[in-house]
């Protein structure tokens, strides 16, 4: 088997592999930077909670469309995700519950309702599709949706970059100069939900955050400046997507989990060998004179 057969042929021969690869590229460009900002805001697990919250909306979309229409499920997921994000925000402002506590409550409610709706009508196969994604079944409509979300995300990040960065490290300053921190936070949460919707089409609700948070964690292990982190997160997300697709094609594995496992392998290697990783603890380099 030549290198061409191994690395390029799958994408030359099959349209579904090409579409899956483009979807991975889109997710890498959009979701990975969002994940980096999420973890910079110490909200890593919030993304996870939100991804579960998307489920009932996707399930209702699935019921209304009567089939696995990724567009209908995407729109449903968007509505559900935004509702949970808004409700959690409102509850944390109006009651003693912190934002993470109200998030946890709402996503559990949402997840349970979602699984109920799917099991009411669909077969277990459908439930598996919703939970674990169908990256090889992405059609042109779904790809358009994902591409649109990625374009919106990149444009929004470019426009909001400055207030978003300041809100991450010094929210008090943004408040003092009248920088509309809550508005920035709201727009950012909107981007998180949008990218989860894009991601869940490919990876399912359970692993939608995979290409968001793992590359973000990897990037933080290697880089010390924000632009470098964002670049590394995009690169590792795309490499994971590509490697996962190739491996799943040749080894006949489920593609969604293989993509996440690829990211996980990069993560573990980074944990060991990155400048601030575990190996540096055991192989100490001599300290500097000044």
């Amino acid at each position: 088997m030549s290198a061409y057969d191994l690395f390029i042929a799958p994408f030359m021969d099959y349209g579904f592999m090409r579409r899956a690869l483009v979807a991975c590229l889109c997710l890498a460009l959009g979701a990975a930077p969002i994940g980096t900002f999420l973890s910079m805001r110490r909200m890593s697990l919030m993304g996870d909670a939100l991804s579960h919250a998307v489920l009932p909306g996707a399930a209702i979309g699935y019921l209304v469309a009567g089939s696995l229409s990724l567009t209908a499920m995407g729109i449903g997921g968007l509505v559900a995700g935004l509702s949970v994000a808004l409700l959690a925000g409102v509850v944390s402002r109006m009651t003693v519950l912190q934002e993470d506590a109200s998030f946890a409550s709402f996503y559990l409610i949402s997840l349970a309702v979602g699984v109920l709706i799917v099991s009411l009508r669909g077969s277990n196969i459908d439930l598996l599709h919703v939970l674990f994604g169908t990256i090889l079944a992405i059609d042109n409509n779904a790809l358009t949706l994902i591409g649109t979300i990625t374009s919106l995300t990149l444009a929004a990040l470019a426009v909001l970059y400055r207030p978003l960065v300041i809100d991450c490290f010094d929210p008090g300053f943004l408040r003092a100069v009248g920088g509309r921190g809550p508005l920035i936070h709201g727009l950012f949460m909107l981007m998180v939900v949008l990218n989860l919707v894009a991601s869940f089409q490919a990876l399912g609700t359970l692993m939608a955050v995979g290409l968001m948070m793992l590359p973000a964690a990897i990037a933080q292990l290697w880089a010390r400046t924000l632009p470098a982190m964002l670049g590394i997160s995009v690169a590792t997300a795309f490499i994971s997507g590509y490697a996962g697709l190739v491996a799943s094609y040749h080894l006949e594995l489920a593609s969604g989990p293989t993509i996440i496992v690829s990211a996980a392998i990069i993560y573990v290697v980074s944990l060991l060998f990155a400048p601030s990783g575990l190996m540096s603890r055991y192989f100490r380099r001599p300290h500097l004179a000044n």
């Binding site: 910079m40 300041i166 490290f169 010094d170 300053f173 003092a176 100069v177 009248g178 920088g179």
Partner: protein, 246 residues
């Protein structure tokens, strides 16, 4: 006399209905340099946060000559995420917010001003250092450089010299005096009575209610300080409703 920079009229600020600032009236003249003194729990930070618009008065009003978003504000132990990967110069440049806003470009001129501000606070050569690698004194110098860049007419400092060594404190006090010389209105919460007496012509002594507000030597008397300590410690969970007429 010109209109004051900030005027407080019968200001009361409460937490769970208990007053933290109680019936305080007075004015900060434009260009004045005022220390706010008082024991812990006297409502000093509460007063500043109310002036900044972060807390709403339960009673009374604040009149500001310019809106508080144009003030330079250094909160107590600023809740800044020091592990965030941002450089010293980028932190200082955020002080250009009033001119550049969220979207405006930050040109070479602002960058140069930021570099000059770093020189002024004694952090020349620290431009590209991440803020996480700074000592607390160096970080406080960075925040002062940002205040320099903000070029605000009113500057509000909440315990700016806490946990800072004496040399850094002296450098930063020199900057405060420079601001005063430039005609800016400066207010600082301070715990060191020596600093207050040496550098601040005006003092506001507070122990939830106003003890004294005026020339420092008239306010910082032994008798006033004793009274402030006694008042700040008074706390009654079941206090009756305050009947002082507005």
């Amino acid at each position: 006399m010109s209109t004051p920079a900030i005027a407080l009229d019968n200001l009361t600020v409460t937490y769970n209905r208990h007053p933290a600032v109680h019936h305080v009236s007075g004015a900060l003249a434009r260009g004045s340099l005022t220390a706010i003194a008082g024991p812990n729990g006297a409502g000093k930070s509460t007063l500043l946060r109310t002036i900044m618009g972060e807390l709403k008065p339960a009673e009374g009003t604040i009149r500001r000559a310019v809106p508080s978003r144009n003030y330079g504000y250094l909160p107590q132990a600023a809740d800044i995420n020091r592990r965030f990967p941002v450089s010293v110069i980028d932190t200082v440049v955020t002080g250009a917010w009033k001119r550049a806003g969220a979207f405006g470009g930050i040109g070479l001129a602002e960058r140069e001003k930021a570099s000059e501000a770093l020189v002024a606070v004694g952090l020349e050569g620290f431009e590209t250092r991440p803020i996480g690698s700074l000592s607390s004194g160096q970080f406080q110098r960075t925040l002062f450089a940002r205040l320099l860049l903000q070029n605000a007419a009113v500057i509000i400092l909440d315990e700016p010299f806490t946990a800072i060594d004496s040399r850094t404190t002296q450098d930063l006090i020199d900057i405060v005096l420079r601001w005063h010389g430039e005609g800016r209105t400066v207010v600082a919460v301070l715990h060191d009575h020596e600093q207050v007496r040496s550098y601040f012509p005006q003092t506001l002594l507070i122990a939830r209610e106003l003890i004294g507000w005026g020339p420092t030597e008239e306010v910082m008397t032994t008798q006033n300080l004793k009274r402030a300590r006694a008042l700040a410690e008074r706390w009654d969970e079941n206090a009756p409703v305050c009947e002082v007429p507005a």
